[in-house]
């Protein structure tokens, strides 16, 4: 490295440093200039969406409606939880479950999310709106839009049979999720989800967290829920 180069670099740092905005770090981009989220991302375990934990900020106490409070009070995992039956976790609980990373495959007009959890996948359409005659499903219908460098994924059409987190916070078929993904540097995603569910909560609320890129060479591994589901077949869960 030449002395001139070192001097120029220091000068550049001195000039730039005081006013560095949050997004000056180089982030990977697609050929069209959009941020490139391709990769395998780990994320914090969010067993209780209200609580702060490492790399995530909880919502605080939830503004339950009477229906929502009643549903939560009556939830008893020892009596029934759909995940024990290998039914789909749903989008929110797939993002909240611990220890199972997500691979984002970004291409053309769709973004595919491959979940290690149950090896399920979900596709986000980038060039259309929600269909008018939406049929309700476990994961709902997701459409993505760009807000500058932020990927905004809007999901409706949930069947209301899933739960938000491990302790069982409820949601209904009226839930509307808004997820905001932003690369803060090549290896971190700032993730914010807003849950708007007027049947269950009197007002929208948020949970924010940081996702991190897994190391090169690490891959999603196989997860077959139905294989050896002994907790279910031996009656530990119902």
């Amino acid at each position: 490295m030449t002395r001139a180069f070192v001097f120029t670099t220091i000068l550049a740092l001195l000039v730039v440093a005081p006013g560095v905005p949050a997004q000056t770090k180089d982030i990977p981009r697609m050929p069209d200039g959009k941020p490139n989220f391709n990769g395998i991302w780990d994320h914090p375990y969010v067993p209780d969406v209200t609580q702060d934990r490492e790399n995530q900020k909880g919502s605080g106490p939830l503004p339950f409606t009477a229906w929502g409070a009643d549903n939560f009070k009556n939830y008893d995992v020892s009596k029934f939880d759909y995940t024990g039956h290998c039914l789909p976790f749903g989008l929110m609980r797939s993002m909240n479950v611990g220890g199972y990373p997500i691979q984002i495959v970004q291409y053309g007009s769709y973004i595919a999310e491959l979940f290690e959890q149950s090896n399920w996948f979900h596709v986000v359409a980038m060039t259309r709106d929600h269909p008018k005659d939406l049929e309700s499903t476990w994961f709902g219908d997701s459409v993505g839009k760009w807000d500058g460098d932020t990927l905004v994924v809007d999901t409706t059409g949930s069947n209301g049979k899933t739960r938000i987190d491990t302790i069982g916070h409820p949601l209904s078929d009226q839930v509307h999720l808004t997820e905001r993904f932003r690369l803060t540097d090549p290896d971190h995603i700032s993730y914010e989800v807003t849950v708007d569910d007027p049947k269950t909560y009197t007002k929208p609320w948020k949970n924010t967290r940081t996702m991190w890129r897994m190391k090169p060479g690490q891959e999603l591994i196989e997860y077959s829920c139905e294989e050896n589901n002994r907790d279910f077949t031996q009656g530990h869960i119902k």
Binding site: P31, N38, Y82, H85, C86, L87, P88, V105, Q106, Y107, G108, Y110, A112, L114, S118, N119, W120, F121, V123, A125, E135, S136, T137, W138, F139, N159, K161, E219, L220, E222, S224, E226, E227
Partner: protein
Amino acid sequence: MPDGAVDLSGVWVLSGSPNLSSDPAYTPEARKLYETRKANKGKDDPSAVCLPNGLVRVTPFPYKIVQTPKMVVLLSEGNTHSYRRFFLDGRGHPKDVNDDPSWTGDSIGKWEQDTLVVDTVGANDKTWLDNTGRPHSDELHVVERYRRPDLGHLEVAYTLEDPKDFTKPYTFRRTFTLAPTWELEEYVCQAILDGVDTQ
């Protein structure tokens, strides 16, 4: 694609039967297993209890190919609504791939002109090759050659080797038709199995 590779992405639906049109050259043990499965009329069918189809057996439900320069993903609407990943970054199979066989094995791919060649090993012996119960062992080695003979069709040529269950390699082809206006829908095997009302 921008890198010059043929674009295989899109939603594809199988044309013709999902079943193999003939038997591989089975060893006597594998033949016996096949006859037992046929006699049981599908009682042992892994897909009937929502276990994965593995890498050869297909469903009449659509598939979607997602293609990036270093990875091609095959999404399956039916069966377990899951995915196979073909790694195109030049890696080889892991050395210990046969120590812990998996439902879909380990797949690496490379382009030979306009054909995507996918090589898979490391599969377990629990899956069936088709709906009739044709067996294979955990020594199954599958080479799939994906090409697009015209805009609307995807042709996959398979070569199956299985030193434990076959006395010689078995080859066959499948054709898939492009469904340009379709998207994959949610298919939940367990909901159908459990009779859960999804509406």
